[in-house]
């Protein structure tokens, strides 16, 4: 059909030139250059901050002779609070600023059409975009999570907050990257469906906050199998349970029957004693998660979130292949 003379020489010349960064990779990195640099800057800054705080803390503890002696109070200042807040909000920030506009911006500005009328299919383009987005989120969060775990883990007994609280559990180990990936994937999906950047960012923010509430209220505390410890009614909880997370507390009789904690809360001590006597209550029973379960629970949680990420990603690719973005 077309009889245009082909400029074979120029084409071959280009093919032989080594290109480390070409095709869609170049395009995606160029388009998201500022965002990539911003994420990089945030990660570097936060990393240095964590290292600095850890350094401050170890110096303070060393000076105080910890752990042989009591740690001074307060052991950490406001900075630690800000750091946990920053890490806690990082997944939402990434979802809103990386996820939501990822496709929506190209839909809104028409550049999705520009790219997909070159010689690349929508699916390849989306794969490149998602690849950049997920890699950036994963790498950034993995670094910060590793550093914060390195900060928190050895000093957890002197730092405020139990390990099953969101600010620790969701910001250490595999949880920070997994949560950020899931929320970002949700942001991408919301953006793809809404096709408007601002609307997508607002909706992603609302979704992320809602998802974290649901996660904290309904899911986080069900990720493991609770254990039980029984100790005498007039005794103290053994010291090795200090960093356990207490789920519930009962009283029990010698034959193992459990009663609610307040079953014998009577008006007078006499009545209480009579009640305890009558029911044969001899033990305190505590339902708890041991700190040794933390890693397993974090991986279980991360698994759920990664599965959710995979589902959302599959949906995005399927949606885009059956209709134009």
């Amino acid at each position: 059909m077309s009889t245009i003379p082909t400029l074979t020489d120029t084409r071959e010349g280009r093919a032989t030139r080594p290109r480390f960064l070409g095709g869609l990779t170049w395009l995606v990195l160029r388009q998201h250059r500022i965002t990539t640099l911003a994420v990089l800057a945030l990660v570097v800054f936060t990393s240095l901050w964590i290292v600095y705080q850890r350094n401050e803390l170890t110096q303070l503890l060393d000076a105080a002779g910890w752990p042989a002696k009591e740690a001074p109070i307060p052991v950490v200042g406001r900075q630690y609070e800000y750091l946990t807040m920053l890490l806690g909000s990082l997944p939402v920030v990434l979802a809103v600023f990386l996820g939501a506009p990822l496709i929506a911006a190209d839909q809104e500005q028409g550049t999705a059409q520009l790219v997909t009328t070159q010689s690349v299919t929508r699916r390849r383009w989306l794969t490149a975009k998602l690849g950049w987005c997920f890699l950036t989120v994963l790498a950034g969060c993995a670094v910060l999570s590793a550093l914060f775990t390195w900060f928190w883990q050895p000093h957890r007994s002197v730092l405020a907050g139990n390990w099953l609280e969101g600010e620790i559990f969701d910001s250490t180990g595999p949880m920070l990257p997994a949560l950020a990936l899931f929320l970002t994937a949700a942001g991408v999906t919301i953006g793809l469906l809404l096709r408007r950047v601002l609307a997508a960012m607002v909706a992603t923010f609302v979704f992320s906050v809602g998802a974290q509430v649901v996660w904290g209220e309904l899911i986080r505390r069900k990720l493991g199998t609770p254990r039980f410890v029984t100790y005498p009614l007039d005794g103290d909880l053994p010291a090795r349970f200090q960093d356990a997370y207490e789920l519930d507390r009962w009283v029990g009789s010698a034959d193992g029957t459990l009663y609610g904690w307040g079953v014998c809360a009577e008006a007078t001590e006499k009545a209480t004693d009579a009640c305890i006597e009558e029911k044969g209550i001899v033990d305190n029973v505590v339902e708890y998660y041991a700190h040794s379960q933390m890693a397993g629970m974090q991986w279980a949680g991360a698994g759920i979130l990664i599965a959710g990420t995979a589902l959302l990603t599959g949906f995005v690719l399927w949606w885009a292949s059956r209709r134009p973005v």
């Binding site: 245009i4 400029l7 120029t10 170049w26 500005q109 009328t117 070159q118 010689s119 209709r323």
Partner: protein, 314 residues
């Protein structure tokens, strides 16, 4: 260029070939039962009122829209096959470009994403518009941006160039410049062009092929040179206030009765009555008559019509 198309040619010589093509959105059919052929090497004007289905048709041809029914082939390759992608280039209505990219980066985008990129041609088009390579797209004027979009389209070295109202937002000077550029590049390479436009004068100057759509259906398709002469503007005396029965042998596209006089746009089915005044209509008059009369039968010149399934010429 304006060689007469014959249906006997192989399918590869059809730049576009639609068979029963249709697209339904939630609000209804945007395009329906659309069958036509566009021979390679032609400059085709796509005409129709707003909402006629022009953009849908261009969207179908550029893989931006999935057809609900029927099929569309680009140089014989079904449009759903990604192998058609290097064959066409598309210039949308608002010519989207990355605003923060420089001109050089925009051309690099073309190079990175297209296997047969013609850097020399793209750079020539940009240079002849005196656009600095390091200027950001966001700082360019509308005409300059259109020129960069053209460079991107021609750098892809397409066999088929699809344009959706490419000049609509340009001032007269830039429009003239882009029109000249488009024609020069297309003729030099033998690129098939399909462009939608509202400007009939623009179409008359540039196009040697026409595809007229209205209300989602093809109204007219074929050689511009053959479509217009197929029509005659007839003026005569009415019989009892209505059209004379002598018109029955001809296809009346549109008629207007004024007192004792009538005027009709007809496709003569034989010799016309000597009582009538006849004149050859302009392209504009023919187009308007078809657009105003959605019930008039569609007109295809030989070759533009796609016959029933299975009779595709070998």
């Amino acid at each position: 260029m304006a060689e007469t198309s014959t249906p006997e040619r192989v399918s590869g010589t059809w730049a576009l070939e639609a068979r029963g093509l249709g697209k339904r959105y939630r609000r209804g059919w945007a395009l329906r039962d659309c069958s036509f052929r566009l021979p390679a090497g032609r400059i085709c004007g796509l005409v129709g009122p707003n909402g006629a289905g022009k953009s849908t048709l261009l969207g179908l041809a550029t893989r931006q829209v999935e057809p609900t029914e029927g099929e569309l082939r680009v140089f014989g390759v079904p449009v759903g096959d990604s192998a058609v992608m290097p064959r066409f280039a598309f210039l949308g209505q608002d010519k989207p470009l990355f605003k923060r990219f420089t001109v050089a980066e925009t051309l690099r985008l073309g190079r990175e994403l297209n296997p047969g990129w013609d850097a020399a041609a793209a750079e020539r088009i940009v240079r002849s518009g005196d656009i600095p390579a390091h200027a950001r797209i966001g700082t360019l004027s509308g005409g300059q941006r259109t020129r960069v979009a053209f460079a991107l389209a021609f750098g892809k070295r397409p066999d088929l160039l699809l344009l959706d109202e490419p000049m609509s937002d340009l001032d007269p000077l830039a429009r003239d410049e882009m029109g000249t550029l488009l024609m020069a590049e297309a003729v030099e390479r033998g690129t098939t062009v399909m462009m939608s436009s509202h400007m009939l004068a623009e179409l008359e100057d540039m196009c040697d092929y026409l595809l007229v759509v209205s209300q989602g259906r093809v109204r007219m398709a074929g050689d511009a040179d053959a479509l217009v002469p197929a029509h005659t503007l007839v003026t005569g005396v009415t019989r009892d206030g209505s059209l004379p029965s002598a018109l029955d042998g001809h296809t009346v596209i549109e008629n207007r009765v004024q007192g004792r006089q009538f005027q009709a746009m007809v496709r003569p089915g034989g010799p016309l009555s000597a009582d009538w005044q006849v004149s050859e209509p302009s392209l504009e008059e023919v187009l308007l008559a078809y657009l105003r009369s959605p019930d008039a039968p569609a007109l295809y010149t030989p070759g533009a019509r796609v016959e029933a399934e299975g009779t595709q010429a070998a």
